[in-house]
Homo-oligomer: 360 residues x 4
């Protein structure tokens, strides 16, 4: 298992969905940053279950405790321990599923890899693991803003077939995003998304979606080619989030259908330094930031755990019909918005720390 991420800004997460609790250690955070639990709680609240009718009914306040690394409201430059106790575990919900691996879930693969797995729920493969990422990422987010005025904002771009339009990447804020419970800043689209998720939920089914994220004010010259290009580490970070199946930056897959003469971003002079008139590059060229907003999208599949009966086999290979219990989201994207932001902050924060006297 690889529960540590980052080169200089390192996050290590721990905890299972139905164990004692979940959390993270963030090592490498600069010293003397103002930090309290309140700063972290904001993002945890946006991630927590039970926040709206669109999410699982599992009731978790997800209150974070800072175990170490902060004294008198300031970071010490040492590891910050973060802990959230689990409150609403219901291991019994999973008893009938013990012998049947849920299709498209990680029951079978964990059992095959480790020869054992968490008796209840997804254990470590559960999205509950992301509590630690969000707590740690909220700190990265804070120091990136405090030191560099970097702003990271994600929102729901699509739920199923419903897509948002008209989102201005240059000004959109988290407040804008939180105007709707589905976290889509395009009102009419948001309404349709809510309706679709409601509908899917009623049918005991689930549906996928897409999140767009923008990182503004990242200075040009950040990122570490060849293998740790900005887009490469963002791609790893996003594909490490449970339920993700795709990542694209700038023009992405649509860009493959363009000609170079359309796709190239011409340079112009902008506020004393070079900028581009279009941003098909998505803020990175050759793995290094160019000062334009970093814009990327992440694809989330429909959640695997559904209550609809599914014909499948048990671990012994015997045909059976599974009707999954447990409390699950019909669509993960509204709650995944802060997860995407926090993983982006961990990536950008690591590049911030790696960025230094590259030149005399």
């Amino acid at each position: 298992m690889s529960s540590t991420f980052g080169t200089l800004l390192k996050v290590t997460t721990f905890g299972e969905s139905h164990g004692k609790g979940v959390g993270a250690i963030l090592d490498g955070c600069p010293a003397k940053i103002n930090l309290s639990e309140k700063d972290i709680q904001k993002q945890l609240n946006r991630r927590r279950p039970g926040q709206s009718k669109l999410t699982t009914k599992r009731e978790e306040a997800d209150l974070v405790t800072i175990l170490s690394g902060v004294e008198r409201g300031k970071t010490l430059g040492v590891p910050i321990g973060l802990y959230v106790a689990n409150k609403d575990q219901r291991p019994d919900d999973y008893k009938t599923m013990q012998s049947i691996p849920r299709p498209s879930h990680a029951d079978y693969t964990y059992q095959t890899k480790y020869g054992i797995r968490s008796a209840s729920g997804g254990g470590r493969s559960s999205a509950r693991e992301t509590v630690g990422r969000v707590a740690a990422g909220a700190i990265a987010d804070k120091f990136l803003y405090e030191i560099f005025r970097i702003e990271i904002v994600a929102w729901v771009h699509a739920v199923g077939e419903v897509e948002a339009s008209h989102v201005d990447e240059g000004v959109i804020s988290r407040e804008d995003v939180d105007q709707t419970i589905v976290r889509c800043p395009d009102g009419p689209a948001a309404d349709k998304m809510v309706q679709l998720i409601d509908n899917v939920k009623e049918r005991d089914d689930s549906v996928g979606g897409i999140i767009t994220c923008v990182c503004r004010n990242v200075p040009p010259g950040w990122g570490e080619p060849v293998f740790d290009k900005v887009e490469a580490k963002l791609a790893q970070a996003m594909l490490s989030i449970p339920s993700t199946k795709g990542f694209e930056i700038g023009s992405g897959f649509a860009g493959t259908r363009m000609f170079g003469s359309q796709h190239n971003d011409p340079f112009v002079l902008k506020e004393g330094r070079l900028g581009t008139t279009t941003n098909f590059s998505g803020g990175v060229q050759g793995g290094i930031t160019n000062g334009e907003p970093i814009v990327f999208r992440t694809a989330f599949k429909p959640p695997a755990t559904i209550s609809l009966p599914q014909t499948t086999v048990d671990f012994e290979g015997r045909k059976t019909v599974l009707e999954a219990k447990g409390r699950h989201d019909p669509c993960v994207v509204p709650r995944a918005v802060p997860i995407v932001e926090c993983m982006a902050a961990l990536v950008i924060g690591d590049f911030a720390l790696r960025q230094q006297f590259r030149q005399l």
Copy 2:
């Protein structure tokens, strides 16, 4: 700069496009693998420029020398040094471009990051850097096949608007792929692709494309969640290839428009162990392989260097028109096929080495 990739199977590349040469060190390759330059040359030949009318005219035989790590035809378990001399450098082609950063290329970002850049061509940001990756990846590819019968095959799925159909991921071979110079195994689509590239080339323009890759016979239980999920490391690997803008695995972005009841892959008994009837998961669940083929796609943008005049500014911000010289591919995907395969082999090879007594 981060020119090293992998945890136990580590590749380190070096070399600039118009310097003395390019190469790689591969550390961690198992001992006693049969290996000669011929094994590596095969993939280098598929990557080399000048191999068909679709590619740049730069003439490079790209003959590899094994500098270390192999004795009497067998690997010693020690680092394998790989070197390819550059032959057809033409630094003079780049003189006029010294003062003008090519739009959507890495000239501006390298200059900003390092305060200096390769005087000619893309230096380290050039796709010529991937020679080292291909040489190293060809070795990973070989030991994965020799030890586990793992087969990795990539092909061109799309060029611009032209898409392939009818490719059987279960049987497609590199020989099939190499039937056409564009490396698309769907004949009629291949014809259209060739025509499109020809056309684009004539217009001094460029076009993007998509590569699909399948990894067959990867045993179930491989991969390292949480942050080094198979899909996460593949995503990093693919997005680290020059000109890439997107990655998706299994159902990918299209999967976001599906319902869970459609998307879930039901289990069945297959040859004595559990398999699935569909493969929307793309061979991984929870970051761990499930024994089904790993299938993923990578998006390549249209090459940035085109000879068409482009209105832009120079490094000083003065408006100018750039007509890029140099010899460049109108479309990178035909030559990128072995690069995708070799990066996939490096990822899977690393997981092979990390896979071990996870359980008693």
Copy 3:
């Protein structure tokens, strides 16, 4: 700060001496190992303050809680969270020292590096940080014994000028070592050591010492040359323990005064495989284990915090006399014995996981 150690078996520690608590995350532990808090507590008890008249009077039961990674008494192959609450903090003891950096302590260097430091005690530089290492190392120790019968035993070799003799590295056990409160298995030497420490304590002074450690039954062929030689990682691990100033393996510094003809360890046939008649190599050759016991020594300086008045300067450079308060050990080696064992277990455990199909 680098609070993570290991390649596949990774420990991450957190916590300050006078904060809420201390702990560690151990990632990479194999699945299905029997594990309970009792297994870990044993080593923590040997490390805890207040265990004998030789140690600091700080009263800490150091009871460990497993936060994650273990279910129904078995490891899941996922990160194991370990936490020990601090009980007997006395931040007030340190108030007068706020403006005076203790000589040979880390107050000055932390302040210089981070521009801030823990207001009380050593914070992160305190040996209290090693609680997390011991908790994590105790788990490595357990699986090394359960899977490979590897035995790791350390003891006090010297306190000040008093040295032990006659310790049989082949059979010495932790029970033998714990016969005396100073953890020296040579009775007469132990008596003198106790007397010396008593004496030093009365004088408000401190004294150094040496710990020897043996790792038995480590299979031949483990270790990763070139840079991660067994002796190199052991050296890093030992020199990362607070108060250490030296490391030697096998013949060590004394071996520099020998001739090759004396120093070389001749091979003989031993129980079906090659062994050596002497062990000046200390169980490693070329960075790889040879199957003989790994034997190494670590030097600990006299603790820096003493109550004797010291002439020094404050942070502003003004001359002053410091009489340090706080509760400190007059000699750290008796309590450092389990720390050395646990760090050795983390090193050997990591090599165990990295050891695999190096050859076909």
Copy 4:
């Protein structure tokens, strides 16, 4: 095998003693450093065989070629490829030794680990591997001096029982060290050392020694506690050099016999910042530099390959007498001086790059 070292300044070495050549890739070197082969050759010349009557007769000019990373005399911030061809291989010398593992050499352990080994000489375990380290370290040494005026100087402190005295760590230079072929700046001791090595050589035997190294002008506040303390990474670096058996910093093992009241380094005001009157700490406190010279010693065993007949067994366990051929040093320390300096430079160089906005 782990042939890569460093977090941001990464060196990767390759090559066997009797293969085509040896070399290294240095990644992370800052851009715009003046660099030519001459800068590197200086240290390689001090390491090369055949430089005096004290060394092996193997004739190697060890001329280095820069393969990449430097253009018009300046570093580009990209990987620097370094290559030295082997010229004087004599694989035949090793034929008779193929079936007999040399005592205290790595033949047996490599064979056990990899199931195969270099047919001639030590292959990768040979000190010839350090050519790559010296080439890469010479570059680190250069930028540390150019940017920070850091000076790293090592010398032979002891050969066998002969010890140097009276070396002023504050002013000693490489020129001083190179006054004698044994690289001991204490003339009378140097004479005795030369005599001892001559004598040992005549007897076909070998002898060990100790090297002291000082790093001056390292700014205070460098280093990464907890696990990457300056002393911990130096210890790993030194113990990764072939033939080393011990490391100590500052007071080292002798410091264990001191009392705290003697050992503590009192602070005083020195040139506007805090310094210490003594330096038993060896320039580091709590793993972080304090601005005083970093002083450490490394123990080298007598070389294992001697021509004196040795009673041992072959790989099958049959008793035999080995008279080793090959050309070997009777004592490695004179040639190891630049290796120690270059490894120290790689360690300090990495900390330089990791040192940055730790505080606002």
